[in-house]
């Protein structure tokens, strides 16, 4: 088991640039240029992005109150707040309605409130407001405070999408082509983004009230695609959506909401959904589809997660001891699942194999409790809860985002990077810490899905910057290196030298 104590001490003074020869080099090291790859690294600050000023319901305070008839008020209350609002309205205007109606509605209201508070005591997350819930279950650390709301690499090309504080999504490409900005009326509080695999254009965005599927034509030069390019998928009771996952074949999209006990399996083109309901857990917060497409992890807000197999859509139930499952990632071959739990400072591993019929218990593979490193300007403490996990597509580097302690000095959030090895036994070896510029803490990270020379970690920082940290290594082909995609990706792109499919006629 690996712990943070064996890591090389972090360099706090400067930003980590890249890894070469098994060493993480920072900007302080001599002879290194600051720009190592030609990917765009934009920066967004909170000041330039104006969030939406106030929710629609609060615009009420700008107008004078006018007394309507009871019928009008009741209809308005029903429209605005449903049954609760209607009952509340009737109870409040007790002098205008018959006495039995007022008493009855107040009784029903009390009963409903009692039931919902009971329900809320079973599942405390249900008492949160919609925005708080998104912030709680988002993979982005400090979601509500951050200028960047979500980030996603395209699985096949050098482009990525960033969701921003002002509810817009920007798409950046490696060359200096225009960056389209996507805005839509329904695009509020974007919690997750994911590009559709095996497609050049489709981007799914999990919003507060619905699921948006953008079709951004890669050949188009338009910087503001119209909202007609977006498909709106919604299902009653299925909001806010905090996680989405495309199947690796691109045919299905699964969405999850913490308030809905069923997750939706969408056939996006047909705009139809199949709900898969399991009552235990009280909702689904995080989804992760294994790269080979055979399994899907669904975490719940309670101390329980499920692993679905995607052939017949049955699930295994995994109760946890302490907290809910915070983050998870799959190995590239889909055989190993790494998990982190809320309130625990370890990484668990589950190894799936078709021969043995699945694992019986999770094993602890890394200990991430606080460790103090002496530094030039005081001690630096790292370690803590795991906020997010990311495994590079070749299965050789694992990045772990560790939550810091905002109260304590010198205990920032950091990214620890492990080297992974699967044979003879699964093992994590220390690689180093990825540091940002001074004062910047990491918020989110994701590996580039097809970096040629090793792995490339993209990090969103608290100062609104997006930076890329390459890890140069030669692939040992330990995990998942034998899949055709990887094999092809590592081969050189010279068509004349590949004569596997030689000239032939049918």
């Amino acid at each position: 088991m690996c712990s943070l104590g064996v890591f090389p001490a972090p360099v706090t003074a400067a930003q980590t640039l890249f890894e070469r020869n098994n060493e993480l080099l920072s900007a302080l090291d001599p002879g290194e240029h600051s720009q190592v790859c030609d990917l765009p690294s934009p920066q967004f600050t909170r000041d330039t992005l104006k969030g939406h000023s106030r929710p629609e319901s609060s615009s009420r305070s700008a107008f004078l109150d006018q007394r309507d008839t009871l019928w009008m008020r009741s209809a308005g209350a029903w429209r605005d707040a449903g049954l609760y609002g209607l009952l509340d309205e009737i109870t409040n205007s007790a002098d205008e309605v018959p006495r039995f109606l007022a008493v009855g509605s107040s009784c029903v209201l009390a009963l409903l409130r009692w039931a919902s508070s009971f329900h809320g005591s079973l599942f405390p997350h249900l008492t949160l407001s919609s925005d708080e819930m998104v912030a709680e279950f988002s993979q982005m650390l400090d979601w509500s405070d951050s200028a960047l709301r979500s980030f996603a690499w395209h699985p096949h090309t050098d482009k990525f999408a960033v969701a921003l504080l002002d509810d817009s999504i920007k798409i950046y490409k490696s060359n200096s082509s225009p960056t389209p900005t996507l805005k839509h009326r329904c695009q509020r509080s974007v919690c997750a983004l994911q590009w559709k695999p095996l497609c050049g254009s489709a981007l799914a965005a999990a919003c507060q009230s619905c699921l948006l599927i953008w079709h951004v034509d890669p050949a188009s030069l338009s910087t503001r695609p119209s909202s007609g390019c977006a498909q709106v998928l919604s299902h009653p009771g299925h909001s806010p959506i905090t996680s989405i996952a495309w199947s690796p074949t691109g045919s299905l999209l699964v969405s999850a909401s913490p308030v809905d006990t069923s997750m939706m399996v969408w056939d996006v083109a047909a705009e139809s959904a199949v709900p898969l309901q399991r009552v235990g857990g009280g909702g689904v917060t995080h989804l992760s589809w294994s790269p080979d497409g055979s399994r899907l992890l669904a975490a719940t807000p309670s101390a329980l997660f499920r692993v679905w197999e995607t052939r017949m859509w049955t699930c295994e139930r995994w109760p946890c001891l302490k907290g809910s499952c915070q983050s998870a990632c799959w190995s590239p071959d889909g055989g190993c699942l790494l998990l982190s739990m809320q309130g625990e400072r370890v990484i668990y591993a589950l190894t799936f194999s078709d021969l043995t019929g699945g694992p019986k218990a999770a094993s602890v593979v890394a200990d991430l409790s606080e460790t103090t490193f002496p530094g030039p300007d005081g001690d630096l403490t790292v370690g803590g809860e795991v906020c997010s996990l990311s495994w590079d597509p070749r299965g050789e580097r694992l990045a772990v985002l560790l939550k810091g302690d905002s109260q304590a000095v010198n205990h920032p959030s950091v990214i620890a990077v492990f080297k992974t090895r699967s044979s003879p036994v699964f093992e994590l070896l220390p690689c180093g810490f990825v540091m940002g510029e001074s004062g910047a803490e990491p918020r989110f990270m994701q590996f580039h899905p097809h970096f040629q020379h090793g792995a490339l970690l993209t990090v969103c920082w608290s100062d609104g910057r997006i930076s890329h940290v390459p890890f140069y290594f030669s692939s040992a082909g330990l995990l998942g290196g034998d899949s055709p995609l990887q094999a092809f990706a590592s081969s050189t792109a010279d068509p004349s030298s590949n004569k596997l499919y030689s000239e032939q006629t049918s």
């Binding site: 691109g250 199949v274 049918s506």
Partner: protein
């Protein structure tokens, strides 16, 4: 109804699989009937303030002989419903392209029989319900005291009559909505689930739908009864010599109808009625769409008929073809061992028979769709509607409808289609052998009907009637759907009903048309559903989607799994077929109305999946090409395809699509 038991049924799949699935679904519906009846009893006798009395009364009622008798009757109803499901279900929805076509469907004799049976079943169920509810609803005649003479005579119990008529009304509206909402269209889910979880997941939807439908029907029926209630009332009372009690409030008045208890019982019984029917439909759908695993190859020659390469080109049984394609899509994604069987060579000889048969069938399906789309684009006028007259001479119409009818009709293949087709025209048609015996049987009884296709008339050597009405009603769409509407059979029966492939546009010569007021009115009627022609083109596209998925995943898997290189030889034809289809689909979506999305449907049991099949097909096609290009990458440059196709594939390699 009787025909499905006929010995002509020679497809093993219908006999061994579909029949058993239908039987199992009906058995489950019957088994669930006591449960729903118990719930109905509990709800109908509900008393808020006397819970103990309520429960004991219900338990007493459930064991009473009248309830047992009702249950037996209800079992009969469920049985008939199940048989109707088996008889009427369809995998390719019939999409009426105009209001006239819809009207034709509703007024079809087969549909009339259906409505009549459902009316009587509704009445029967309502009779059971009213007996179960008891009290003032239980009998049609009640003793009453005449006001002037004071003697006791038999009077008409209007409450009972009201419920019976409501049952008939609900039966008819179920039958009517079944046509309008394509209730008998069975769609396949995008994911596979076991039957029980699927049933559990759908149950709440069925309850919701039946309650909503029952409330709608109750409202409509109450309105209808308010205006026309006196007609059946006087008729029944005069035929059965029942007096009308003038002392009670008549129900066809406002105060009579505003009876909360009556409306409650009406909607509860209506929900019970709809729920029973919907549950049967749901169970049937779940059972029929369950995946069936066909063996890829068999060591025994007697099982060779049942293997996937043999089953796929089989065109007589649509349900078998669909399930075979679904199985192909599943095996290509999930089963390594079965994929290896597909790529294997035949033992003596070393021929890739399995792969050739499977890929050939998929390719012919896809090129048939391409052909259909190209023909539609040729036929479409600039306003996005099918040119009714000019389309009559269209090549496609001749080739698709007439070629099946007789070999003597000239089949003009579209010259641009250089793709070699093993089965020109629609693969869903019946095979050419034995066409006459197969086709004439179901069509003969309907020849006098005005909606049947002239092709069929030519087939049996009848002179086409030249009535002006006949001439005008012959909208291309009506006629295209004609054979399907009129056939007294479903696709499940082997060689009986060829679902006319969409976009087949035979229409009578323009000289027959006598423009008149009626004709113009009808012209207006039939041009009202512009999107429908696009929907109808892709009505059977679920098969194409599976073919695309199966083909692309097999080709992608062949990169590492195909030991003998059997896929390599067909790769050029697969790629060019996909690219040609993509071009045709792209052009189709440029047509007006083709890319307009259908509105959200309200809660109903009818399946509207077919409305978005064209979008699903387009997405599946692009994904299929991407699947192949990403797995082969630059190796595709070595594949021998034409330059334009290579250019298009290069777009996919660069993820520019």
């Amino acid at each position: 109804m009787i025909k499905m038991f006929s010995p002509k049924q020679n497809c093993w799949f219908i006999r061994k699989v579909v029949m058993w699935r239908a039987v199992a679904s009906i058995a489950w519906s019957v088994l669930l009937l006591p449960v729903t009846t118990a719930v109905f009893v509990l709800l109908s006798r509900f008393r808020l303030f006397h819970p103990i009395q309520w429960i004991s009364e219900c338990i007493h009622l459930l064991t009473a002989s009248s309830t047992i008798f009702s249950l037996v009757l209800l079992c009969g109803v469920v049985l008939i419903t199940g048989l109707f499901n088996l008889e009427f279900y369809t995998l390719v929805p019939s999409i009426p392209c105009s209001r006239m076509a819809l009207l034709g469907t509703v007024l079809h004799p087969r549909q009339c029989v259906h409505s009549l049976v459902y009316c009587s079943m509704g009445m029967l169920m309502m009779w059971c319900a009213s007996v179960t509810i008891g009290g003032r609803y239980s009998t049609l005649g009640i003793p009453c005291r005449q006001s002037e003479s004071g003697e006791v005579v038999a009077c008409l119990n209007e409450y009972h009559l009201f419920l019976l008529l409501a049952g008939a009304f609900m039966g008819y509206s179920h039958s009517f909505l079944g046509v309008v909402q394509n209730m008998y269209y069975v769609s396949f889910q995008p994911i596979q689930q076991y039957k029980y979880p699927r049933f559990k997941g759908c149950l709440s939807m069925v309850v919701k739908c039946s309650v909503i439908q029952s409330l709608y029907s109750a409202r409509n029926f109450a309105a209808l009864y308010f205006f026309f209630g006196y007609v059946p009332k006087t008729w029944i009372s005069s035929t059965l010599h029942l007096q009308i009690d003038s002392s009670v409030q008549p129900l066809d008045s406002l105060t009579g109808l505003l009876d909360f208890s009556l409306l409650y019982h009406l909607s509860i019984s209506g929900s019970f009625l709809y729920f029973t029917w919907y549950l049967t439909v749901l169970l049937f759908r779940i059972y029929v769409t369950e995946a069936y695993s066909f063996p890829v190859q068999s060591t025994f020659t007697e099982d060779a008929e049942q293997c996937l390469p043999k089953v796929l080109p089989w065109t007589n049984s649509l349900v078998m073809k669909f399930l075979a394609l679904q199985d192909l899509a599943l095996l290509s994604q999930h089963s390594l061992s079965r994929r290896l069987e597909v790529f294997s060579l035949s033992q003596p000889g070393g021929h890739p028979h399995n792969w050739n048969a499977i890929s050939g069938e998929c390719l012919s399906l896809l090129s048939e769709l391409t052909q259909r789309l190209v023909a539609h684009q040729d036929a479409v006028a600039s306003n996005g509607r099918v040119k009714s007259q000019s389309a009559s001479s269209d090549t496609r119409s001749a080739s698709s409808s007439s070629s099946v009818v007789s070999g003597t009709e000239d089949i003009t293949e579209s010259p641009r289609l250089s793709v070699p087709l093993r089965t020109p025209g629609s693969v869903f048609r019946s095979s050419v052998g034995g066409v006459h015996s197969a086709l004439t049987a179901p069509f003969t009884p309907d020849l006098d009907s005005p909606f049947s296709s002239p092709a069929i008339r030519r087939l049996v050597g009848q002179q086409e009637p030249r009535s002006p009405w006949f001439g005008t009603v012959q909208s291309p769409h009506v006629m295209r759907r004609g054979p399907k509407l009129w056939s007294a059979s479903t696709e499940s029966q082997s060689n009986s009903s060829p679902p006319a492939s969409p976009a087949t546009v035979p229409s009578p010569p323009a000289a027959d048309q006598k423009p008149s007021f009626l004709a113009q009115w009808l012209q207006n009627r039939r041009e009202q559903l512009p999107e429908a022609s696009s929907q109808a083109l892709f009505a059977d596209s679920q098969a194409h989607i599976w073919a695309l998925q199966g083909l692309s995943h097999l080709v992608a898997a062949s990169f590492s799994e195909d030991q003998f290189g059997v896929v390599q030889t067909t790769l050029p034809s697969i790629l060019s077929c996909l690219v040609v289809l993509l071009e045709a689909v792209d052009r189709h979506f440029k047509l007006p109305h083709a890319s307009s999305k259908p509105g959200r449907t309200i809660c109903s049991m009818g399946d509207s999946t077919y409305k978005t099949l064209r979008f699903a097909l387009r997405a599946a096609l692009k994904t299929a090409i991407y699947k192949i290009t990403t797995s082969f990458g630059e190796h595709l440059n070595a594949v021998n395809i034409s330059t334009e196709h290579r250019k298009r594939l290069q777009q996919f390699l660069e993820f520019k699509e």
